[in-house]
């Protein structure tokens, strides 16, 4: 009798220990995400205290959800690029290249039309933008892989080159998209659900889910991790290193083109000289703040996704609590350096 009671208590303590163990394991495994979430909550609290009128009103959240996706949609695939131990600095220009393709096709097929008549042409224009974005990204990849120029240098070069191409083709002239107003095409890309929720946020969530699946549940993602971790091992074991690398550049290319279309549709105008400007800073900040290592091999989509919101909050917050817009650059620069430095130090300590 006593022994069975003993056994029961023993089993119970074992269960409790198991629970504690798995809790500790969960905390360890997700330390990074938990850390990011805490930073986020802390900042949020800070801004609520600092600017309660702004941060307790629903409008600010609608504003977040409309503006965060424009760089978030690029930060998600950029995470894969950086896990693969590469970098892309040219996606801001790729946004404009994609949009140039969009405008050229749109002018040809749908210009001067109104309402539902232009939807078909606009869809073809969107497809053109995505294909061009993919190809331009792929060209980055080909230069990096086949010629062997480090991606940092390659994409500094192509960033200027493609912006130049855009300016030459458009002669620097903007293009109005005002006649897409009220069309289903516009509603699906940058409409408001229930008059409040910006639909581009839904696109960002969908792209986040797609990237998560690609990275964690698909061979391609497995290879991205391996290539970034140890290129030579990956090659020795038969991973197609070159193809994996080229494709991550293609991926960020498509995403940039899509983000370019969304950002232009939002303001009903394509600005060839400035579309994509400023996104480099936000996007890189989000990826590094999200815990992706510059040294390749580690990083998560969830981390980047959460960090996008931190970046968006900081940008809105600095202005609302009374600092000038000049502070945002300073803060983002600091975020990039500090998060990369923390990673480097951690890496040294863990050996």
């Amino acid at each position: 009798m006593t022994s069975s009671v003993d056994q029961q208590t023993k089993r119970r303590t074992e269960q409790e220990q198991d629970f504690k163990h798995s809790l500790a394991r969960f905390a360890r495994k997700n330390a990074l995400q938990l850390g990011i979430i805490s930073v986020f909550l802390l900042l949020w609290l800070l801004f609520i205290v600092g600017a309660p009128r702004v941060f307790l009103a629903p409008e600010i959240y609608a504003a977040f959800m409309s503006s965060i996706p424009f760089f978030g949609i690029m930060a998600l695939p950029l995470t894969l690029v950086i896990i693969a131990r590469e970098i892309d600095l040219s996606f801001g220009s790729i946004m404009a290249v994609g949009m140039t393709a969009f405008v050229l096709v749109f002018e040809l097929l749908a210009d001067g039309q109104e309402g539902s008549a232009l939807v078909g042409g606009a869809l073809v224009a969107l497809a053109a933008a995505l294909v061009v974005g993919f190809l331009v990204g792929l060209i980055n990849g080909i230069i990096v892989v086949k010629i062997g120029i480090p991606s940092l240098i390659t994409t500094i070069g192509t960033q200027f080159f493609w912006r130049g191409v855009v300016l030459v083709i458009t002669s620097g002239q903007g293009f109005s998209l005002i006649n897409t107003r009220g069309t289903a095409f516009r509603e699906v890309l940058v409409g408001r659900i229930g008059g409040y929720l910006p639909i581009q946020m839904v696109w960002m969530v969908l792209i986040g889910i797609a990237m998560w699946i690609l990275l964690n549940r698909h061979r391609f993602g497995a290879h991205v991790y391996l290539v970034g971790d140890n290129e030579n091992s990956a090659r020795l074991m038969g991973v197609n290193v070159d193809r994996t690398r080229m494709l991550v550049f293609g991926l960020i290319g498509v995403a940039a083109a899509f983000a370019g279309v969304l950002a232009s549709m939002e303001v009903n105008y394509f600005w060839p000289a400035t579309l994509g400007e400023g996104h480099l800073m936000r996007t890189l900040a989000a990826v590094f703040l999200g815990g992706t290592s510059v040294f390749g091999g580690t990083g998560t989509i969830v981390g980047t996704f959460l960090a996008c919101f931190i970046v968006g909050t900081i940008e809105a917050g600095t202005v609302s609590i009374g600092l000038t817009g000049y502070f945002t650059q300073l803060i983002f620069g600091l975020i990039i350096v500090v998060s990369v430095a923390m990673h480097t130090l951690l890496r040294k300590r863990l050996g």
Binding site: N232, S233, G238
Partner: protein
């Protein structure tokens, strides 16, 4: 019967360095071939040509008598070659299961990973073959913190898992304890017992002599000679290795 593997007149240079010159080399069906040679003799280069990692400058590669053009690592693995590389070929920041299935991830249709099978298979291998008894190690463990011998165990078990029938081991005993070395040699004998073939590289002549059917000696990129192990005593083999190192010739 055809050789399991045959190399004909294989040459390979890296820039100025000619690592291999007109190599003829064979591995028979169900034969364990020991590959001996000084540091830099070209042993690793030779096996990396077989695994499809290096492309030879000249020469032919035949698997089971069939000539294979443009061999890649993937193609070689499909042809039944698995390898424990000298450099181990692991990814330090990744989990155990990702390392085991590196480059040959099990997947469903459209390339979606079969995580369940990969993890349970890793668990089985850990318990049955790797001798990991520590509760702290599981398929989700990052291998960075494993000891040198444990990492090697991962590379060795990986080569086992895919049921290859030509297994290449490049200095597999390096850094292993006496106990683990004995297990490894036993494992090479099992390869033979199971009717498969192997290439076994080791600087320890005693190890090579005790598991190989035939020994091939490389010297500065050429085949200096070969012996059936049953025709040569350990002492004679060691004697010859010294002579090759000094004079470049077996006689």
């Amino acid at each position: 019967m055809n050789y399991r593997l045959e190399l004909r007149k294989i040459s390979k240079s890296f820039g100025e360095v000619q690592s291999l010159r007109d190599i003829d080399f064979q591995v028979g069906q169900n034969e364990v071939v020991g590959l001996l040679g000084d540091n830099g003799a070209g042993k690793s280069t030779l096996i990396k040509i077989v695994t499809g990692y290096h492309q030879p400058d000249r020469g032919e590669i035949l698997f089971n008598g069939k000539r294979v053009e443009h061999l890649t690592v993937t193609k070689a693995r499909q042809l039944g070659v698995e390898t424990v590389y000298q450099e181990r070929a692991l990814a330090d920041q990744q989990t155990l299961w990702r390392n085991i299935f590196m480059g040959r991830e099990l997947s469903h249709r459209f390339g979606f990973l079969d995580l369940k099978t990969m993890k349970s298979e890793t668990n089985r291998l850990m318990l049955e073959s790797m001798g990991f008894t520590s509760a702290a190690v599981n398929p989700e463990s990052i291998i960075k913190t494993f000891s040198g011998g444990e990492k090697q165990g991962v590379a060795i078990v990986r080569a086992l898992h895919f049921r290859a029938d030509l297994i290449i081991l490049d200095e597999p005993t390096m850094g292993l304890s006496l106990q683990e070395t004995r297990k490894l040699l036993e494992f090479v004998r099992d390869i033979k017992g199971a009717g498969k073939s192997a290439i076994f590289i080791d600087h320890n002549v005693f190890h090579v002599h005790s598991v190989a059917d035939r020994v091939v000696v490389l010297d500065r990129g050429t085949v200096a000679g070969e012996f059936q192990t049953k025709d040569i005593t350990l002492d004679d083999l060691m004697e010859k290795m010294y002579r090759v190192a000094q004079t470049g010739s077996l006689e």
